[in-house]
């Protein structure tokens, strides 16, 4: 049963990747749709970021003093000024570790 589920999941996932690229004719999308598509990164990624920062492993909202929130603020600031992906991720992790290993110990 597990194998059938994996293959079914694989087919559905591949279809989600392929459908708009290979099956839909670009001309079918109106200019309004194309304008809205400019915002896809802004619309998709915060829905991954916010729960990752504001919820814990059990799906409960964290307190406003949670180390993840400070880590995210540091990463946001460093990323804004540096425009560098590595600096953004590392600064967020380091500040998060600094809080949980030194300040909270």
């Amino acid at each position: 049963m597990s194998w059938i589920s994996i293959i079914a999941s694989g087919i559905i996932t591949y279809f989600s990747r392929m459908a708009m690229i290979a099956l839909i004719d670009r001309e079918m999308l109106g200019t309004k749709v194309k304008d809205v598509l400019n915002y896809v990164p802004a619309a998709v990624f915060p829905a991954i970021i916010f729960p990752g920062v504001f919820f814990n492993d059990f799906g409960n909202m964290v307190e406003l003093t949670d180390p993840k929130i400070y880590g995210a603020i540091v990463a946001l600031t460093v990323g804004f000024y540096s425009r560098n992906v590595i600096a953004t991720i590392i600064s967020g992790l380091l500040s998060y570790w600094f809080i949980i290993f030194f300040l909270l110990k």
Binding site: P41, P46, L93
Partner: protein, 228 residues
């Protein structure tokens, strides 16, 4: 003129920083599969056949928790439906390719690869062969994802849990959108998406992952209408 090889390598370079989060996440994914008691080959098959980070973990967790296959497959479908949005954006640049090439490239459409390639393609609209950038980001992500999940399957969760490396996931996506907070209209759409995801978090089948972007795109649509 840019050669195919040069564009491909540019894709590799552009996505490489994201391996900081992809590699630990892959190791965790492989290790979780083994911890849940699945056959190593079956765990690895999810990386090869589904090839979609979070959806693989949720798939294995649901099956091991006794959920029906239908629930597990539906959840994967819902979580991964966001690729439809990526495809709609990228189709602009892949229009002229043959059907077979479109089918091959599609397998390699992944979040971070989409984000980095989309930035590159926007800045090089008139250039030919720019789809090699998508292959560069996609194949890099694929390679490191396979390697990382295999390491997690074989070696177990050798990354101490206390490090909280799961936090690298939101950070990698934050690094993707952080440049756009210079544009107010994008900030508005991001906030709508972010708050929608907090409100919709408990919706069934993890559907907040696709519902929040839909709400945010509707907000973008209304915003564009008002601006005109």
């Amino acid at each position: 003129m840019h050669s195919k090889k040069k564009i491909f390598f540019q894709g590799i370079i552009d996505v490489l920083p994201h391996m900081l989060s992809v590699i630990p996440f892959g190791i965790i994914t492989g290790a979780i599969g083994i911890d849940l008691g699945f056959d190593p080959i079956l765990v690895y098959a999810t990386s090869l056949i589904i090839f979609g980070g979070a959806s693989q973990i949720i798939f294995l967790q649901l099956l091991s928790g006794g959920a029906s296959s239908l629930v597990a497959v539906t959840s994967v479908g819902v979580i991964n439906s966001r690729h439809l949005l990526y495809g709609a954006v990228l189709s602009e640049y892949l229009d002229k390719l043959s059907f077979i090439k479109k089918l091959i490239i599609s397998y390699f459409i992944v979040d971070q690869g989409f984000a980095e390639s989309n930035k590159y393609l926007k800045n090089n609209k008139t250039q030919s062969n720019s789809h090699y950038h998508i292959l560069g980001t996609g194949i890099t992500l694929w390679f490191f994802w396979q390697l990382a999940t295999i390491s997690g399957i074989v070696l177990g969760s050798f990354i101490p849990e206390e490090l909280g490396l799961k936090f690298a996931i939101p950070l990698t996506f934050l690094a993707i959108v952080v440049n756009d907070i210079r544009k107010l209209d994008h900030v508005f759409v991001m906030l709508v998406s972010g708050f929608a995801s907090l409100i919709l978090f408990d919706a069934p089948f993890k559907s907040y992952i696709i519902l929040s972007p839909i709400v945010a795109l509707l907000a973008a649509f209304i915003m564009i209408k008002i601006k005109k």
